[in-house]
């Protein structure tokens, strides 16, 4: 068989045009990556392309949905009976607990009305199902089967029966993407239930759980401590379980202690999750005020830069010490905990 294209595909030497094209394409990819990393373009493109992306997600979900259906269809009777029994016991227990709590909740509500706070114990939630799509092993993300058309907004907290799972970071028309609390890029303000210490829990770098990277040496944190959302920052409402401290060890710098935290939510196993609809009342520090001063027309000339520098340094100074100040106030009473059900 003769090969007509022998000149264009030589055995050894490549042609210069191919290398040039490679360089062009690689440069294009690099530019795209940098732009996307800086501006998050990908999500805007995805919103446009959602007509294609979402049906493909549904398709990719089919095998895992099929497995789920099969496992129910072929589950053995004994297993189902056991599961049913266990669920019924759980329900009974939960109902008993709720009944006992109802009085307390009512009292709490009355007291809160007296105190004139707006937080309530009512949950306004929406049930969502996890779509089985693999978004790469390095990412701690979930895809839910509800999207912007169902009223889902970025920033909504996502919980399951045991605790906080994460928050919605992006919505497509009929699906949304959740960033889990175990994502290294995620941080959640928490309070240690036992001691009232307030701190921030980050996703672990290796994706295994959460870490508290900066516990003051003198602070009271022990293995077994439960962490609840503190409600600071106004993203997560206060009082939801986040996780349990497993180990506490000195940080490599020696200035802090680091705690490993196991997430409370069943992050690997949840099929159904709840989307919280009411966002927390922002309980953090008020927004920085615009510095009041003489009108711009009377501002000093650009040559007299001395007037500008102190203002800049004081405004950055107001941002940075938030964390130490918050952690230092650990022994104060916890209004945040009042909103929690055990």
């Amino acid at each position: 068989m003769a090969r007509p294209r022998d000149e264009s595909s030589p055995l050894f030497a490549g042609n210069a045009a191919g290398t040039l094209r490679l360089i062009v394409y690689l440069a294009l990819a690099l530019v795209l990556m940098v732009l996307d990393h800086r501006n998050g373009w990908l999500w805007r493109v995805r919103n446009v392309a959602s007509m294609v992306v979402e049906p493909v997600y549904r398709l990719a979900n089919l095998p895992s949905a099929g497995m789920r259906t099969l496992s129910v269809a072929f589950a053995d009777r004994k297993l189902l009976t056991e599961q049913n029994q266990r669920l019924r016991e759980d329900l009974l227990l939960a109902n008993a607990r709720l009944n006992r709590m109802a009085g307390v909740a009512e009292q709490n509500q009355r007291l809160k009305e007296l105190l004139d706070t707006q937080r309530s114990l009512d949950l306004n939630v929406q049930l969502a199902r996890v779509v089985g799509v693999d978004l790469g092993a390095a990412q701690q993300r979930l895809v839910l089967n509800l999207g912007a058309r169902d009223g889902v907004k970025p920033g909504q907290p996502v919980i399951d029966a045991h605790g906080v799972m994460g928050q919605v970071i992006q919505t497509l028309p009929t699906t949304s993407v959740v960033m889990l609390v175990t994502d290294p890029a995620h941080a959640i303000p928490v309070v240690v239930a036992r001691s009232g210490l307030r701190t921030v829990a980050y996703g672990a770098r290796d994706g295994s759980g959460l870490v508290l990277p900066s516990i003051p040496l003198a602070a009271d944190v022990q293995p077994g401590d439960k962490l609840l959302t503190s409600g600071l920052g106004g993203r997560f409402p206060p009082g939801f379980p986040v996780g349990k401290v497993i180990t506490v060890a000195p940080a490599t710098s020696g200035m802090f202690r680091v705690a490993q935290v196991q997430p409370a939510a069943d992050i690997d196993r949840s099929d159904d999750v709840l989307l919280l609809h009411d966002q927390a009342v922002p309980a953090g520090p008020p927004a920085p005020e615009v510095p009041a001063g003489p009108p711009a027309s009377q501002a000093p000339a650009p040559g007299a830069a001395g007037g500008n520098a102190p203002a800049a340094s004081s405004s950055t100074g107001a941002v940075h010490p938030t964390l130490p100040r918050v952690t230092a106030a650990m022994s104060t009473a916890q209004p945040a905990r009042a909103g929690s059900l055990p």
Binding site: S9, A29, M33, Q170
Partner: protein
Amino acid sequence: MNRQRLTSWWFAGTLLFALLLMLVPLPALLEPFKPYWPALVLLYWALESEDRVGLGLAFLVGLGADLFDGALLGEQALRLTALAFIALRFRSRLRFFPMWQQTLAVLALLLNDRILLLMVRVLSGAPVPPADWWISPFVGAALWPFLFLLLDDLRLRFRLQ
């Protein structure tokens, strides 16, 4: 004429199916063993029909994968373009390798791909992945002979070009 169109559909279908396979989740235990399907299928087509696969197509497939994956726009485009370039450059030799040698070459290509991915990830500030992250290229290479024979067999059976 009709056969020509059928062939194009088959070509596009395998690539789309590879993207779909990339998205299908595996049980957590098997997750590190998942091969990089788009690379394998693209490699097959690069070796088998050169006039269809160019750098532009590899780039477009990569962009599509990025769109589905949602990680970083351009990441897989970069990886697949580099992969296609190497495969096309050594195409004439790769095609006439015995299967075990070809498998080794595929392993090298996939490892190179992982190294590229690692560079991109680390530069964009992601943590260094665990050791089992390196299993995937070996699984991909181990599957290569079967994938190659399967796709070749289907192509011959349906008399597609």
